[in-house]
Symmetry: C2
Subunit: 108 residues, 2 copies
Amino acid sequence: MANQFGEQIKKLREQGNLLQRQVASQLDLDTPLFSKIERGERTAKKEIVSRLAKILKTNEKELLTLWLADQLHNLAKDEDVAFKAMEVAGKSIKTQNQKRNETKSNRQ
Amino acid sequence: MANQFGEQIKKLREQGNLLQRQVASQLDLDTPLFSKIERGERTAKKEIVSRLAKILKTNEKELLTLWLADQLHNLAKDEDVAFKAMEVAGKSIKTQNQKRNETKSNRQ
DNA sequence: CCTAAATTTGCCAATATTTGACAAGTCAAT
DNA sequence: ATTGACTTGTCAAATATTGGCAAATTTAGG
């Protein structure tokens, strides 16, 4: 599994001089489980991501981006059409967002 | 769920003048299930995609790309960092592919 | 070296999600 | 009203994900 998320939280945790044990307990998680999350052996639930952002005093959206990117990577990594599919999906996300914004401005 | 895959197979099925019942039976699937796959209410398993490409006489990679793109879209669609995450994941896929090719050329 | 703390590994049971099927429904054409 | 094509709703079985524990390994200090 891609693990930009895990690498980032490990970096932040060490910068903050925190032990896995300490962060895990703030999250109400097992230390072993947190260890696995850092190493990308397990994926954190979305709720954990935002709580982590607070604990590690970092930007939640950035962290969420890495977390989601890892999951996307993981879904696509074994396919040789992975990159193309990523482009196609990116386009359809853009379209979706446009529609969302149109709706938003229509009900201002 | 995004449904570029379903739309494409429906289009191809109709161009080939095939009924859902006929395609479903070639795939050993329930007609209702195939109907759901066409409408994106259910996702097809990967194995189904390649068998479908043969049945519908179309390019397997193209079909696989749409199928994967739908899944990527679906995973990201509710996140407001979806597009950014898609970019990040795209980059890490590219890097992964580079490494793959390096390995490949090293063992030529 | 010794050992104590930190982290990792392996595994399990509980839970949640996905799968494919069936029965019954709608809809259109005749 | 009957037939054929497709859709909807629901279910049980299979599969995957979850969090935790016990034990192993690695790291750091004396």
